[in-house]
């Protein structure tokens, strides 16, 4: 009996496939809605997932157990001076600090020049905590900081702009007219500031890393307003924040909005929450396309049932039970929408792959998205195929045969 049911099912599948393939243009147009819906879902999920992964990787590169202090200051006191930095460093949970200054300068070397080179001024600690950043040469050390040495590390963009085809190590370049010696190069893939560039839209020809003390000189400032704080223990983050708040409140006379302490970890959480909300929203919108596609399938199935009234009547006369007719038409709807679903998965993956390779977003095969797309399309087939199949199975064989 089970075997018989199974053969019946296979029979239905082959009949459905025959019907579907007999009118390819119509099949394609009908499934187009499903294809677009599923492709949209897959593409959105894959791209958003990829973007989230990329951002997380950037956050991870900035490191756990790292806090960032952003000082807004007051009219009289715009940033932190050396003594105050030292006081922060002396906090119990603080292992090290690295001031961070950013500016854009014009760089020149021989005949080559660029007026949009980003300068990152960092402390020696920064390179200690981002050891993979250094590609060639040496990093900026404590002595460079103290002496305000005019040394720099350059990234690929700068090397291409100013040292095309040369080994830049040991060569000199001019930043806003000041002479700097290149002591090292940066590995871009590990460059945490890349994320900052994406966020703040910094479109520069390249990035140069210099001692922060030297950067202060370049910018003509004597205070620091942004710094990274490295903690002794990531688990002590809350205690460290509290400690620093007391200190900074003292420095800025308990005024509001004078500084912000950014916790990377909580920022990652917030970002993940945001992206997952965005994802559900986008998938929700894309699902509308799927519903519209489902209605297309339903419409086509209703037309098919009407067109094939005689066939249905004949099948009934030859001994088909209503249930068998229903399964045949339901199967046809399911196969149609599954077909659309599978094509949609491929289209979606292709589209998201193209988006990803063109935007530096990580591409990963989101199996969940694929499973969701296929399941959704099958469900659409069942839901929207049900009514037409039911209609077919309820047709009176006499009326059906008489409609010739």
């Amino acid at each position: 009996m089970i075997k018989q049911k199974w053969t019946m099912l296979l029979e239905n599948v082959s009949m459905s496939v025959a019907n579907i393939t007999s009118n390819k243009m119509r099949t394609f147009l009908t499934t187009l809605g499903i294809i677009i819906g599923v492709a949209a879902i897959i593409a959105l999920m894959t791209v958003v997932q990829g973007a989230t992964d990329t951002m997380n990787a950037q956050f991870d590169a900035m490191g756990l157990g790292t806090l960032r202090i952003q000082v807004n200051g007051t009219a009289l006191k715009r940033g932190l001076n050396d003594d105050e930095l030292q006081a922060l460093l002396d906090c119990e949970h603080v292992a090290g600090i690295s001031p961070s200054l950013n500016t854009t300068v014009s760089a020149k070397r021989g005949g080559a020049w660029s007026d949009s080179i980003s300068v990152n001024g960092n402390g020696a600690e920064y390179f200690r905590h981002n050891p993979d950043l250094l590609k060639l040469g040496r990093a900026i050390n404590v002595i460079d900081i103290e002496r305000r040495s005019q040394v720099c590390l350059i990234d690929g963009g700068t090397a291409k702009t100013l040292f095309f085809g040369e080994n830049p190590l040991g060569k000199t370049l001019y930043l806003n007219g000041r002479e700097y010696v290149v002591v090292g190069t940066i590995d871009e893939e590990e460059d945490a500031s890349l994320f900052a560039q994406i966020l703040f839209g910094g479109q520069s020809d390249g990035t140069v890393y210099v001692p922060y003390t030297s950067a202060m000189k370049l910018m003509g400032t004597s205070t620091v307003s942004t710094l990274e704080v490295y903690l002794t223990d990531p688990d002590e983050t809350d205690a460290a924040i509290e400690e620093m708040e007391i200190l900074l409140d003292g420095i800025f006379n308990y005024k509001d909005d004078t500084y912000t302490i950014i916790n990377m970890e909580s920022m990652t959480d917030a970002m993940n929450l945001m992206t997952s909300m965005m994802m559900s929203l986008l998938v929700g919108i894309a699902s509308i396309a799927l519903v519209v596609g489902g209605i297309g399938i339903m419409n086509m199935m209703l037309v098919t049932v009407t067109e094939r009234t005689t066939e249905i009547g004949l099948r009934k006369a030859l001994g088909a039970e209503p249930g068998q007719i229903q399964i045949q038409f339901l199967m046809e709807a399911i196969i149609l929408s599954l077909l659309g679903g599978v094509i949609g998965v491929f289209v979606g993956l292709t589209v998201s792959f193209l988006i990803c390779i063109n935007t530096d977003i990580m591409f990963s095969l989101n199996t969940f998205a694929i499973a969701l797309g296929v399941t959704f399309s099958a469900a659409v087939g069942i839901i929207f195929g049900w009514a037409p199949a039911r209609k077919a199975s309820n047709l009176n064989p006499i009326d059906a045969l008489r409609s010739v």
Binding site: T7, E11, L314, A317, G319, A320, V404
Partner: protein, 230 residues
């Protein structure tokens, strides 16, 4: 007298058209013996199609008793009626009703699929039936590669495939020309000689005469007609 093989008693069929009730069949009594070739002769509108539908278990009577092969056809649901159609009745239609996308073999296999016959056995029986109706070399032709007469032969093979209790033909030559119609009728007579029970519904006396017995239907009432002469 009542036969267990095929008997109809006081069969009434009414259709409700809004407020009005139309009586199409007004108490039909009919008995058929196994192996008979019965022609039901009647003009259009006489109720012969309705009668055919009831005989073919496509429809149930409003009242009366219909016994087919020892089974009383009454108050059965669609599923049970489908079972009976599958096992007991082979339909032959005026318009042949072959499915266009399937070849002759597949068309003949169709009722066997619904009867739950396994694929290999299905193919064997379909082949046998097509050979029987003289279409040995047309097994894989599709509908539009076959002439009208050939299509009707395929339809007959299809009706024979499940080895039904009775063959039910509705104007089987209605869409054919004289010559091919005559050939189809020859085939019917052969089947009759083999011992098959055939009920043929027609409006054409000449065609009706091929049967071994003729009944007339007029305005929903049945009367025993002329026994086929010669």
């Amino acid at each position: 007298m009542s036969s267990d093989f095929f008997s109809m008693r006081e069969i009434v069929k009414q259709y409700r058209m809004g407020e009005e009730v139309q009586t199409i069949l007004k108490g039909i009594d009919l008995d058929i013996e196994e192996g008979e070739f019965l022609s039901v002769l009647g003009p259009s509108g006489s109720g012969k199609s309705t009668l055919m539908n009831i005989i073919g278990c496509l429809d149930t009577p409003t009242s009366g008793t219909y016994t087919l092969h020892g089974r009383v056809i009454r108050d059965l649901d669609q599923k049970q009626l489908a079972r009976i159609r599958s096992r007991e009745i082979g339909f032959i239609f005026q318009q042949f009703q072959l499915l266009p996308r399937l070849d002759a073999m597949k068309n003949v296999e169709l009722p066997l699929i619904y009867a739950g016959v396994p694929p290999r056995e299905r193919a064997r029986r379909a082949e046998e039936m097509l050979v029987r109706v003289g279409l040995k070399d047309k097994m894989h032709h599709s509908r539009n590669q076959l002439s009208g007469g050939q299509q009707q032969r395929v339809a007959i093979a299809r009706a024979l495939a499940t080895n039904p209790t009775l063959l039910l033909a509705d104007e089987p030559t209605g869409a054919l020309d004289q010559t091919t119609g005559a050939q189809v009728m020859e085939l019917f007579e052969e089947l009759h000689e083999e011992g098959r029970t055939i009920i043929m519904i027609t409006h054409d006396l000449k065609i009706a005469r091929h049967g071994s017995r003729i009944v007339n239907i007029l305005d929903g009432e049945l009367s025993e007609g002329v026994i086929a002469d010669d």
